[in-house]
Symmetry: C2
Subunit: 183 residues, 2 copies
DNA sequence: ACATACATGTAAGTTGTTACATGATTGG
DNA sequence: CCAATCATGTAACAACTTACATGTATGT
């Protein structure tokens, strides 16, 4: 659904090889659209077959050879079409909230440790986003592209802030709770 | 992954038929773990095969006959095990943020209308959550189960609040932006 | 008797995940 | 030349989506 468009966006920002893309999907783009290298290679093949991208002719396509990909005009057009199109919000799936709901039924035994772990993960991610903000969006510069990208980063920062607060709040409630929901 | 556990939670909260479950996954549980009726029927079959649930003997299993499902002790144990187990956070995939990032490259032409539509959807969802909060969690009552379920609902409210704010902020920036990112 | 809604399912296709395979390059 | 790493892939499977199929109950 959206993976090809995530890849087109990434390649427009900077032409890359499959592995470079994979690395970029571990951060940046991957913060809101994750993908594994297998998905990426398969999708690169499809995008090439559809005439949306091409391999830069620099190196010939041998097996262990690095290949760099470039977006063709048809690919840019497809991305623009997709970006402007009306899209239904995709359904949420959040494991933590589901687990809390399950814990309300079967008891909170053993959950606390993992909540602390998740809190630490979210704090780390929040710190990383803030570093990126300081580095890439110092006060002053604000071109159109910068403003949009900053907006996306702010969403990440605010979401991680929400989760750290929510988890902190959840953990505060914990000591008072019995082990099996029998209040 | 988590669908069987979402179903076990729902059935522990209240034994239901396949279609009743489907309805409940359109709200309540579905707010943080969506599922279609096809997924649900298939998973009910698996859960029965594994001995986690059983069909209540009330009506015989004819084709158009309503069947009601009940969680067996093994099912409750499995849910408790899953709830307490350590789990990696699943990767995010957010279409709106991806589209903003794409718009930063190919231009914002045509995006605004759909952002307004999403804003309306999130406002509606937020209003619905607030109604549920007033109805189900009036000040005063707070058993252990209530507190946990309220916590989950608060997450929904805060997340929708975040999205309405973010979308409002995004739309405020729009009129100043050129159509194709050439600032 | 017919249309409609209810209720449970099947089939096919796409996407995402996990495990493995293969060649090239680099450092010791 | 050997191990480790880089780089690109294949295969098999699991999850999710979309479209369709089938039977039951109800109202007219």
């Amino acid at each position: 659904m959206s993976l090809p468009h995530a890849i087109l966006t990434a390649l427009l920002e900077r032409p890359s090889s499959g592995l470079e893309l994979t690395r970029r999907f571990d951060k940046s783009i991957g913060y809101f659209w994750s993908a594994t290298h297998q998905q990426i290679y398969r999708e690169l093949g499809r995008l090439e077959a559809e005439g949306f991208i091409r391999a830069l002719p620099a190196a010939q396509p041998a097996r262990g050879q690095k290949k760099s990909w470039d977006v063709l005009p048809a690919g840019r057009a497809e991305l623009a079409r997709w970006t402007a199109a009306s899209q239904e919000p995709r359904p949420h799936r959040d494991t933590l909230l589901l687990r809390m709901r399950a814990a309300a039924v079967v008891g909170t035994e053993g959950v606390e440790a993992d909540l602390r772990r998740h809190l630490a993960l979210h704090r780390r991610q929040l710190a990383e986003y803030r570093e990126i903000e300081e580095r890439d969006f110092p006060p002053g510069r604000d071109g159109a592209q910068d403003r949009l990208r900053h907006l996306v980063l702010r969403a990440g920062i605010d979401l991680e802030t929400f989760w750290t607060r929510w988890l902190t709040h959840a953990l505060e409630e914990f000591p008072d709770l019995p082990g099996d929901g029998t209040a």
